[in-house]
Amino acid sequence: MNAASLTASLLLPLALLLALLPPATRRIALVLAPLAPLPALWTASLASADAVLDLPWLLLGSRLGLDDTGRLFLLFTALTWLAAGLYARAYLARDARRTAFWAFFLATQAGNLGVCLALDLASFYTLYALMTFAAYGLVVHTRSAEAWRAGRIYLVMAVLGELTLVAGLMMTAHAAGGLMIADLQAASPPPVAVALVAAGLGVKVGLPLLHLWLPLAHPVAPVPASAVLSGVMLKAGLLGWLRLLPLGHAVYPEIGATLLLLGLIAMFYGVAVGLAQRDLKVVLAYSSVSQMGFMTLGVGAGLSAPGLWPVLLPAVGLYALHHALAKSALFLGAGVALKVGGRAWVLAGLALPALALAGAPLTGGWLAKAALKGGLAGLPAPWGGLLGILLPLAAVGTTLLMTRLLWLVHRLPAKEPVASLALPWLAWTLLGLVLPWGYAQRVTFPEWAGLAAATWPVLLGLLFAWLAWRGRLQVPVIPPGDLVVPLEHLLKILKRRQRDILPIEQRLRS
């Protein structure tokens, strides 16, 4: 039964994908496509804990299965894909390239679900690659000029990331002496390997400097695709970290510190640049950069202080769950907002996940942040103290950013409501409020005394926002993708140079 459900989780999306290709089966496949994550959902919620499927003949020897982390990730991944799928059915009902969208959608989905199930390096990497490359099709779906540009940058960064990951995996596997995730438990690979793995996956996670693709790619994709890109695919990178980094049993002070630093930068940088955006989805994308910074902190801390890891792991997991739900809800909501305009119910629906993101009390964000803070507090000086000050400040920033979002939505002109879109979104939003609580027993439950501590950053943020509005503060505009722009300039110059060099070289050869 376990084997069957594991297999079905992985194969159903692929089977549907194949069914899409011949015209004969296309219609039925299109109907069924949104339901592709159901077996995975079944697996995540009902399969027994020791569900393992050994496939020694597959790839370099594969193992699929579920552990605690995997189960959690599989759960929210499958759910998010399901929601996005249902949403997409309506969203793309009249799209000319519908079939192509669904093909890429299902392929990406298979990869993403599989990543959660993979318990060996080869299949993890395989499915990860499938997800990454298939997502390109989602990014460029609209075929607009921005989409091509975003796709190009996405692909370049993704390839760099993949390759770096493979190099890191090779070294890790060499150090571990095996390809199973289980083999990695006791291994302490050389720092280079760890750094390569961290960086390779960091592209997906959106570490600062490696994030360049993110604010471009997430917004240009169709809304349901953005929801999964930002909601769960970033988490695949995170899951990779959790699986492949030697967390919990070896100390890597430099890498840990670097990750901590990068996490911090991400938190604030994401907010800062996000505030300077005009486009809803770009704002959300930057928010993702910022939020992933929180999780990066957790991982960085785990590398610096392995002793904290048993506390940190569930916290990071919870954070991932919370962010996946909230961010996908926001994206889906943004989609609705763009279709129906800044109506009140839209604003209200968006405000809930926005608050969760800001960590407002009683939201999932509140639970997650508290758990994370608890873990991070154990860090040695100066990190412990420093983070104690900075984390609330980051929450202030998040609040500001969310306010900015709502402000932008508010200014959208109202249009006809579309129920088929709104219903899955609203349902999803509500689910997002509830679900993190189900996971709360795994982490140190925040003390109720901490409620105040969670409240003031939100209020402070709102205050700043009001002040800015009152003062008619002009926000400077930063083009999406920030650093990409000067980089592209540089490339253009180089290309011109190359055109000068090439003929000379040809002459030399002839």
């Binding site: 020694p56 003949w57 597959l58 790839l59 370099l60 390839v159 390759l163 190099a167 090779m170 060499h174």
Partner: protein, 500 residues
Amino acid sequence: MTVNEVLPLAVIASSLLPGLIIFALPERRIGLRSALNLLGAVSKLVFVGLLLAGVAAGEEYGFRHTVLPGVELVFKADALALLFVTLSTVLWLFTTVYAIGYLEGSPHRSRFFGFFSLCVTATVGLAMAGNLFTFFVFYELLTLSTFPLVVHRGTPQAMRGGMVYLAYTLAGGALLLTGIVWLHGLMGQVDFVHGGSVAALGPQATAQLKVVFLLLIAGVGVKAAIVPLHGWLPQAMVAPAPVSALLHAVAVVKAGAFGIVRIVYEVYGVEYAQSLGLLLPLAIAAAITIVWGSVRALFQDDLKKRLAYSTVSQVSYIALGVALFGPVGTIGGLAHLVHQGIMKITLFFAAGNYAETLGVHKVSELDGAGRRMPLTSAAFSIAAFGMIGVAPTAGYVSKWYLGEGALAAGMDWVVAVLWTSSLLNAAYFLPILYRLWFRPRPAAWPHEHIPARGWRETGWLLLAPPLITAAAVLITGLFAETSWSPLAWAKLIAAREYLQ
């Protein structure tokens, strides 16, 4: 003669005889010619199957014939030989089918298929060569039998390509010959044996052995297209697509790479080569080739030329694997021998399909071809991903083993080389895929020869081979750990090379 002596000869004869008969056939006997070709290919497959089963069971197959006193023609169908023989035989079958479709209606087909068969004969002979002398015999035979294929079109451009090809390969052959005779003078006949044999010469011969190694490797390095000996390969791409497939996947470059394997493992012995310090320079040369080939490929607009430079790069993976001291690297190199073959042949089949169906020869003309020819393009894409080393393709498996082998050999810098190369591979393949799938198709194709009929985007003889080989790219990657995969066979060979 016993069965164990006859079987290797039968493998050779199964393409030689049809080839000779085909030469004598009049041009218009298409049916008979095709039947002969396929009969040869299939019977060769059967013989190879028998050999495979036997070798896996520990049988020894060989044949000896004295040519000169102390010089023998030796055939030996051992595991390593069969790795290459199987590859060539299987791919030959597909290439033959493809060529029958590709050359439909073009002139001089008797000649073409005659040399085609000779070419494969030379390849299997080379693979089963049991000593350096025999190896050289077939090495040169291969050169000669491919030349008419390269210049088949008879255009001045083809001539230029052919002459460059000859100049390079014959010069390489000369170096190889010098090295072989030198070694022969030092120690008599040099049979291929596990673990090599030259170590017996003792320490006073090391200086000479180093020079001989250089000569031998430079000799086979021409065919293996190691930089700076690679210049012929991009020139030779003027040949028809089946020939390119042959050059790049089935026979020629493989012969060079295979020669490196034989020389390092079974003439010098990998341990001894390592102790002479010969492996590091080889690895460096291979690394340079890998990167340089990819860099050159980036700038080619001609599709086949781009693929050709890609071959330059990819074939050196094999040499690299050989130069990595340790069984894992060996496994990687040997597995790549097969993997590169099926991937590159798929690419060339697809390139040929674009040219033959749509008249498209340039990368820049490929816009939207994925819509017009989805199956071909899918095959192309799979193989291209394989070249980049994306899982779960065959290319991923070999790259993985190479990387692991490098780490095991303590040559961590190789990982950087692999990284760079993969990046470059992505840089020249992904734009092609992008054009195939995501760009709008043009108003008209440059020269549409074959109209689409339903899902049959082109002739079925042209379509089937790339689809099968593309499937093979996936299957060999997905099922790499099964006992019948090329990887498993490579492991068997590596075990024999190192444990003795």
